[in-house]
């Protein structure tokens, strides 16, 4: 594809192209969300028409709520580990299937396959596979690693990591595809030139591939960190936040506080905090990485 340099003064398509989508977004997302935020400052129970304004009371409660603090910690732990592991695995897979190995097309399809399955289905599947008598333990027993068998989701020290494992299993292929697209846009000539200059495979990866992959890194890290922070369905289906609160994330807590306990005001306050965390993390990361991108290119 031939790249036409943008003319000065015309940096993009006309703004009104966005108008219909923007209008829809405003009425379906922005306005209802904005009005919802109001309830974060009330003690509304989701039902009673009489409720009172409590100011910052809900936010103050949050600071005293051990469950909420724990949930924030779990959320950050999950987000960071998913971002690191999923992208690490995704990158290795992408490098692997970008070589000349014979079954690479089949492998690409297989590795990407879990990403197209609905998260809730994956979670229910793994909930059974990870059970005390599930396939994972049977497999470990069968290959002589009987001592490694665990109560994966019932042990509070392991449950969070089991959840991370399931998510990485599902989405590593997704990261892989994005990296693969990036890898394939790296011109072969540069590699050849570097090879002629005497660069080995590691050096070529570091000095040629890595900088050119920067846009892929930006998009992948951003997607996984946002996904990790607002994680709900997989956790809820796998463990329900348990045992106890061992795998509760901000999102599962929001759900429980609103729909099980009827504390809508408090739960909306939690949602506001989550929104702020996501916004800060993603914009911060975006600026950091796009600066790197510019530096790399």
């Amino acid at each position: 594809m031939k790249v036409v340099p943008a003319r000065p003064g015309r940096t993009g398509p006309p703004w009104w192209f966005m108008a219909p989508a923007l209008l829809l977004f405003t009425f379906v997302v922005l306005i209802p969300s904005g009005r919802g935020v109001y309830y974060a400052f009330t003690d509304w129970d989701g039902l009673n028409p009489d409720f009172s304004f409590v100011g910052l009371g809900n936010f103050a409660d949050m600071l005293r709520d051990a469950d909420a603090k724990q949930a924030v910690w779990h959320t950050l732990l999950i987000a960071v580990s998913i971002t690191v592991i999923q992208n690490g695995v995704g990158l290795v897979l992408a490098l692997g299937v970008n070589t000349a190995i014979k079954s690479r097309n089949l492998l690409r399809v297989l590795l990407f396959a879990p990403a197209v399955v609905t998260p809730i289905v994956t979670a229910y599947l793994w909930r059974n596979l990870l059970g005390p008598d599930g396939a994972v333990n049977s497999l470990l027993g069968a290959v002589g690693l009987g001592d490694w068998r665990q109560d994966w989701l019932g042990n509070p020290d392991l449950a969070l990591w089991a959840v991370v494992g399931v998510i990485v299993w599902q989405y590593a292929g997704y990261s892989m595809v994005i990296f693969l697209a990036g890898l394939q846009s790296v011109p072969q000539e540069i590699h050849e030139a570097a090879a002629i200059d005497g660069a080995g495979p590691v050096r070529r990866f570091w000095s040629v591939t890595r900088p050119l992959l920067a846009p892929a890194f930006t998009i992948n890290l951003m997607l996984s960190i946002i996904g990790g922070i607002k994680l709900f369905d997989q956790v809820y289906a796998l463990t329900g936040g348990g045992p106890g609160h061992a795998t509760d994330t901000i999102s599962t807590l929001i759900y429980k506080d609103a729909f099980t306990l009827g504390e809508f005001g408090y739960s909306i306050a939690l949602a506001v905090v989550l929104t702020i965390i996501v916004a800060v993390a993603s914009t911060g990361q975006y600026f950091f990485l796009s600066r790197n991108e510019r530096a790399a290119s």
Partner: protein, 421 residues
Amino acid sequence: MNTRTPKALAAAVTAAALLAACSGGTKAASDGGGSKTLTLASVDQGSVEDVVKAFEKANPGVKVRYTTSGADQYQQQIRTQLSSGTAPDVMSVWPGNGNPAANYVLAKPGYLRDLSDQPWAAKMPDAIKSVAQYEGKTYNAVFGQNGIGAVYNEQAMAKAGLTPPDTWTKLLDFCRAAKAKGTPAFALGNQDNWVTQLVQYALVATSVYGPDRDFDQKMQAGQATFAKSPWTTALDKYLTMEKTGCFQKNPLGTNYEASQQLAATGKTLGIIQGNWVIALLKQKNPKGTFTLKALPATDDPADTLIPAAAGAGYGVNAKAKNEELALKFVNFVMSPQGMNVFNKKQGSLPTLPDTGYQVDPSLTELAKFIETNRTVPFMDQLWPNPKVQQTMLSGLQEIFSGQSTPKKLLAEMDADYKAGS
């Protein structure tokens, strides 16, 4: 999740309800006026269908437009509909105060019509009345009740050569004998946190309410606490059962579904559950026979009580569009005919006497306990807020995984109880 505010939800549900109302309107008009259409929302999936059919047959020309959903989804939906004025004429309502769509919760802001003037209201037994009423008025047509006990797999019991124990000492011996034979006594699916409470309730019934039937009144008056009551004894016994090997390994990694599988196929001798599990066990093993017995907690069988509680019933919308038909439906549910259809399908027992109901042989003991007034409501149904129960459920999981202690849990439950409604 962050953008899903209740307002957005309300808007979406309202829009859907409006669409439904429009289509219903045109249809009703062609029927010759809206007076023959009743709207109904129910959680009784798999049984309300038959009741609706029988009701329509008994009232020619009447059309019931109904929706069914699971408990979680229903609770969200009905609250949104009530607060936006789009709720159906008749709706499922849980007894007491246990959950977000319970009797107290919905009656308090005035969303339910007073049903005290209906013919069946006065006939309800006291245990049911206590949870079907709010401030002395009846709001909930409770048609069925359920009990919690030990459900034994008869074939597995015969194979192991064991009989159901009727005292606490015999129970522990039974567990040891069962374990020695390689089939643990009871399946326990504590991964699903609502399951954790069942053994506890079965033990609390006898330990707490045996010596003191007025425990709830004392709690409400602030004269008693969980921590300083036999709740500690019951919790201790629960953990003794775990240590004695009464349950299969890894209860926290085992979900409700998996626990049914264990009990149905005889990998355990039974399961401590509500009577509703029997139908599910039969689905998994159609050749099996399952019987519910009381779970003992003392050494005198005469002490034993069963937690038996009213199941979800039906309330009438205070702003019902078709009140006459709504009352007719509720009265049909409470008639011998409606009650029998519901209870037969759900494997539960009717709440009113003299319905001519044929009790399933698996529930003879439960029926006997109900008849002789040896039952107590599920504990949470008289608690002031849903938080006490949620604290208990996750706390029990934490105790089973060594993250908490019985003392800490009961103190937390006391704190939540005192926080009030």
